[in-house]
Amino acid sequence: MSGERLFQIQRISGHPGTVPGYGTQRAVEVCKYVDVTTCIGCKACEVACVEWNDHPFRETSFDNTYQTMPSTEWNYYNLIKFAEHETNGNLMWLMRKDQCMHCAEPGCLAACPADGAIVQYQNGIVDFQQENCIGCGYCISGCPFDIPKFNMETKKVYKCTLCSDRVGEGLEPACIKACPTGCLHFGTKDDMVSMANARAQQLKKYSGFANAGVYDPQSIGGTHVVYVLHDITQPELYGGLPANPQIPFSYGIWKWLAKPLALIMAVLGILAIIFHRILIGPKVPQPEDVPPLTDHPDDGQAARKETP
């Protein structure tokens, strides 16, 4: 997909008129559409994810819900979060497909110090390259959605790839393919957002969900997974989806202040001592053992000439 984009002609030398075919290719930003309101919690997407990524079934724990395990794991990228919510005596059983959101401004990527361990493709997919990962775990604290997970054995971090291997071949992600209700769709970001908006309008108009809306948080530049929620004002209900996800403020200080400052300080410090040595000179034990200056008067004069 990015290959097609690379060879899309932008300008031509000595060519009259517009570039032939300009603008005929559509936007390449991809997106998952997740309609929480039509999810039935069948977990087909979980199985498809485990199957496609060739992960073994892992042990889980029972915590009185239908949820497969408490949170996503290094080899379990995709998890339906089940939440029971009561309003006005009515029970709402909320099921949200939790996975990497593929943020436009990824906190994990901002935090990562290792060259090439996290890449963001032009199509919006944020992908971990485990061969470059050094296992520092900075991405884990940088993620507002608690998605990257550490593997204690390989000392590397893993998360949903948005099936970049499938998308690169023109296929939709495995979870999308497995969904039986059509609550999952895959396409361009524009299409998915307009589809989600249309669905939210439908919910408002016909189903009585006055607060229905689309979750595409602009605080991190939007995400490449959008949710249609019954109640956009309370995303926390859906297994702790943050209303206003933020990359921790300290990252800004750390990345844009501390890191350059340290390098500048190191360079300035070394320059400072070099010039201190030249201009002010050493503190030599006194009295100094130096040959008398006046043995050769001409040399002495030469030395004096330099003094301003």
Binding site: G135, C136, A258
Partner: protein, 257 residues
């Protein structure tokens, strides 16, 4: 408490001192015993390793340059906390060893006030009350103590980030960096002062000794305590002898050389 530390230090100095020796020639003073020297270099080696591996992970600019020294990024990341732990442990012993000598005094406050004179070399000898360590050295020591505490707390949070809340881990990165900045600044100055800036200092950490001249120039108070002699008088006598050897009495004109 303080006497228990002193007893421990004395025991270590005697115990470790048996493995090496310090030869003090005529006209020289013993500055650092074997125990101090061994501790210093253990601290130094573990600190430099921690610094390099830490900087590799700290800055994406330095990452491709420094990680190959440790066998790649994952190895640098793996080794960094262990180097650092060694540094903290060795420094703890150095802390006990030097705690007594590093107590802040009025003389050190005066040192801070005449910091400019010190940096610009405008005085021949240090003030008479400059003891075993001067104010700058003590400042560096206490800056390391503060940094080590910051390093250790934030470093443990980053090391065990699976059991520490994420926001504390995120704050720890910044605290760790602030500690590193303090250490880096002090470290650059420390290396400069002990080698190029003050000839005759480096040997005190290798052979353990310094010349009497060095002692009355940089630490007159310590010279007086060690020899019972007046540093200023000894300096002036040595000056007269040097002048006699040079075969001239008159000083070079001030400001002309």
């Amino acid at each position: 408490m303080s006497s228990a530390i002193d007893r421990f230090d004395e025991k270590m100095r005697r115990g470790i001192g048996r493995f090496g020796r310090t030869v003090v020639h005529k006209g020289e003073l013993l500055r650092h015993p074997v125990y101090t020297r061994i501790l210093h270099w253990l601290v130094a080696i573990s600190f430099v390793l921690a610094l390099l591996s830490g900087f590799a992970v700290f800055s994406p600019v330095l990452f491709p340059w420094i990680t190959p020294l440790f066998g790649g990024g994952p190895t640098a990341r793996f080794l960094h906390p262990w180097f650092s732990l060694a540094f903290v442990i060795f420094f703890f012993f150095q802390f006990l060893n030097w705690l007594h000598a590093m107590v802040w005094t009025d003389s050190d406050s005066r040192f801070m006030r005449r910091f400019k004179e010190y940096v610009t070399n405008s005085e021949t000898l240090e003030p008479e009350d400059t003891g075993f360590f001067n104010g700058g050295q003590k400042l560096y020591f206490w800056a390391i103590v503060v940094s080590v505490i910051l390093f250790l707390i934030s470093g443990l949070a980053m090391w065990f980030d699976n059991i520490i809340p994420g926001i504390l881990v995120a704050i720890s990165y910044v605290i760790h960096d602030i500690a590193a900045l303090i250490m880096l600044a002090g470290f650059i100055i420390h290396i400069y002062e002990s080698t190029a800036q003050q000839p005759g200092t480096f040997r005190s950490m290798i052979d353990g000794t310094v010349t009497a001249k060095w002692a009355w120039t940089h630490h007159p108070g310590w010279y007086r305590a060690m020899t019972g002699r007046d540093p200023r008088e000894d300096y002036e006598r040595a000056l007269r002898e040097t002048e006699r050897e040079r075969g001239r009495i008159e000083e070079p004109e001030a400001g002309k050389l």
